[in-house]
Symmetry: C2
Subunit: 478 residues, 2 copies
């Protein structure tokens, strides 16, 4: 991120020593998407400043504010810049979930429409009483960007329930295959399910990877392995975790070692499938482990995983809650792999502003209605918003912009890394759009200092600085 370059003194590098990446001037003249953005972050007070401090105190009496980072004035936020209550203006994208800018005019028009107001006021129970426009809204919105081979969708409310409903689909599918098509539930299954006991409520598992993050409800949390703070004191399922490749950087200097590491991890996956005390219904994996430290694996690893899951009759769920919707320089991160057969399910949320999972195989629809069901089944107004986001992405070719901006940022950071190798370590995310990260000593102090410059960069894992700008982040924001 060019602001990281600009404020690189916090890496212990004197600003004057920084050579800007070649070609920067040419880039800087590209047309900005937002004409009314500030030219740079503005920090006038400490953060939080006096107005914010008072507001936080008021809020804390009724709502836990200990995770609060900044209390915002969204009316005054624009494009890539979020404003706080004291007039400070910073870069920030709401945990990677705002794709096309604060107060994006097209989205304002979309959300001011009669259609949006109708969807808010007359909220349908989508499974029972969908609106007449639901098919067309799905087809022109959510499904217009469906991953190749996955033409059906189950809509949900947020990332965790997108993940959990995909797990339910996997369990139902698994038992359907074991039972044989058309075979009814046995009386024992029906009876024991009501007691939370097998065979009706069977022992089946989802395999995830070490350092994975898939959510915080009981099923999803059982597959989350990123940090103890999420898991402590919460009962969980006895489900297995496999090692995720720990690649060495730079990749080009560690080809053989990394290949071996990925083979080791795949062998571990297979070994667990063969030895776990109960059947594994699905493997869930992030294309890039996001919360767990921006851990990458090569397309070959994912090809191997797809091949292995196919061989073992285990479903493959690709969790694109954080990687989806453009930020890796493709609409879906798993498109980088060019798999021969698609994942069985792909989950989405965050930048999509609505959630759910895509699937292709009609057998992933349960044999009976109401087995996957809830009152709202997602939110049509957020599906309308996602359609508006897709339109905006297509109109401005924002996935391409993200690939190009990412390339520019990566090369800038590469130069920094070569000059200050102890400060910019394990730079990763080449050819993955702006989904870039590096490790640095004293990471948390660094992030804190960046905030005082109006750059809200986050961390992932223990030592990584992760970049998650919007899709409207351009080279001139450097």
């Amino acid at each position: 991120m060019a602001s990281i370059l600009r404020h690189s003194s916090r890496l212990g590098i004197r600003a004057t020593s920084l050579a800007l990446p070649r070609g920067r001037n040419a880039y800087a003249t590209a047309t900005p998407y937002f004409n009314n953005e500030p030219s740079k972050p503005v920090v006038m007070t400490s953060i939080p400043g006096p107005v914010s401090k008072k507001a936080i105190e008021e809020l804390d009496s009724v709502f836990d504010t200990r995770s609060l980072n900044m209390i915002c004035n969204y009316e005054k936020s624009v494009g890539n810049y979020v404003a706080d209550m004291d007039g400070n203006v910073s870069f920030y994208a709401q945990i990677a979930s705002i794709p096309v800018g604060y107060n994006n005019p097209h989205l304002i028009a979309t959300m001011s429409s009669k259609e949006a107001v109708d969807a808010l006021v007359n909220r349908p129970a989508l499974g029972n009483f969908p609106p007449g426009y639901w098919a067309s809204l799905l087809k022109t919105g959510i499904l217009a960007v469906a991953p190749k081979g996955l033409g059906q969708v189950f809509t949900a409310m947020a990332g965790s329930d997108a993940i959990e409903t995909s797990y339910k689909a996997a369990f139902i599918y698994r038992r359907r295959m074991e039972r044989g098509e058309g075979v009814d539930f046995t009386p024992q299954e029906i009876e024991s399910s009501m007691k939370n006991q097998a065979p009706g409520s069977p022992e089946l598992a989802i395999m995830s990877f070490k350092k994975a993050f898939h959510g915080r409800l009981f099923g999803s949390l059982s597959t989350t392995r990123s940090k103890p703070v999420h898991k402590l004191d919460i009962p969980s399922f006895n489900w297995p975790q496999a090692s995720f490749p720990q690649l060495k950087y730079p990749l080009e200097d560690n080809v053989e070692a990394n290949k071996k590491e990925e083979e080791r991890c795949l062998a571990e996956v297979e070994d667990i499938m063969n030895s776990w005390h109960c059947p594994i219904a699905a493997v869930v994996v992030e294309p890039i482990q996001s919360e767990g430290g921006d851990n990458h694996a090569s397309p070959a690893f994912f090809h191997g995983l797809r091949k292995l899951t196919k061989k073992m009759g285990v479903l493959l769920i690709v969790d694109e809650v954080q990687t989806g919707v453009g930020s890796t320089g493709k609409f879906w991160a798993h498109e980088h792999w060019n798999l021969e057969s698609p994942p069985d399910m792909v989950t989405f949320s965050k930048k999509a502003q609505t959630a759910g999972y895509y699937f292709g195989d009609p057998m992933l629809r349960p044999n009976l209605p109401y087995r996957q069901f809830n009152t709202w089944m997602g939110d049509p107004v957020r599906a309308i918003l996602f359609r508006g986001i897709i339109q905006e992405i297509e109109k401005h070719d924002l996935v391409k912009n993200t690939a190009e901006t990412g390339d520019y940022l990566f090369r800038g950071l590469q130069e920094l890394a070569s000059k200050f190798p102890e400060k910019v370590q394990n730079l990763r995310g080449k050819d993955r759009g702006t989904f870039i990260a590096f490790d640095t000593p004293n990471r948390d102090a660094f992030l804190k200092k960046m905030k005082t410059f109006g750059v809200n960069v986050g961390g992932s894992g223990d030592t990584a600085v992760r970049l998650r700008p919007m899709l409207v982040f351009q080279k001139h924001h450097g």
Copy 2:
């Protein structure tokens, strides 16, 4: 429901034999909330009609439609009446989740506001970057109707995650009490939590009741006991269920038997607490078991449950997802009990159009931030909508209307029951607003037939016809 009275021929009762409740004429002149409502349901085609059939077929190619009841034209829906694609107009309230009428003018104005559009377009990560207005929105909205004694709120997206986050709060609290205030996690706890093993991920349970419904994700589903179709093939936690009182009707003729039945259930709760293989962190209970068959218990039962949970150091979670927001003739159903000390947590969703749980004890905030957290932490636009709903309820005194309408309906059904005791059995919900139900033979055929009259009444449990009209359902709708 007066339409039930009108169409009572489906109960095998000839319409001419129906004496309307006394005083009906006086009631019928009350001012209608919606001047533009149809005067009665209009059914012109079979449901689904030809236009709807085509639309359903189109939708089914991408979205499971087997639970679909009607495909709707919400633009043409008004007040208590939902319109379908063929011009049919029926009573329906979206699984008890539309409180103040389709196209309610106040809600249209609220959702057309700059504030609402801002909350949609610039969706904040509420835990990290809440908007400046969040405290005031909570206080004038969600918290303006907080149950007595519960002044704090954790906001969520839908019923299931409201429930699951309340369970997480209960587990975290339990371990905090066991560990002792200020005592750190041990290295073993930290390490074992990452492996989904005790002591970090402990064996702890939530107790629920037979026939309860609390949601469909992995933790909530483990406490749901209403129907096998929700639970089959899904792994669950080994958590206990206690018997919920099965009362005999009419109540006034079965006082002693019902008292004994409730004592039996309370004794069972205590017995399970003493004998279960792991500690029970909380008991979760619906004020009226809704999905499970409209099963009621007396205030004395809930007093007993509160007393018992206090004595045993177990938290009491009251699940008001379906009973909350007015339909029982009080804003919260548990207000009918006049408990001496409030429940520890109360969950809400459905008619609130947003979800979460209320709590009072500051110790129910985890000792560290980020233990209860997610990207969105609810949806501010839905919180704005709830505030609009609250305003509308207060302006028109709709809780009182619901109490009165419920009283009217109950008396009408009582007369029917006395004339046709084999057709209207176990009438229940007296003094519980419009939250009324009765059992009838061939229930499903009855519900199907009612639909052809434009009355979408639902069932609960195996045999119950349940009424769930909106808060704007008035006597003249009979």
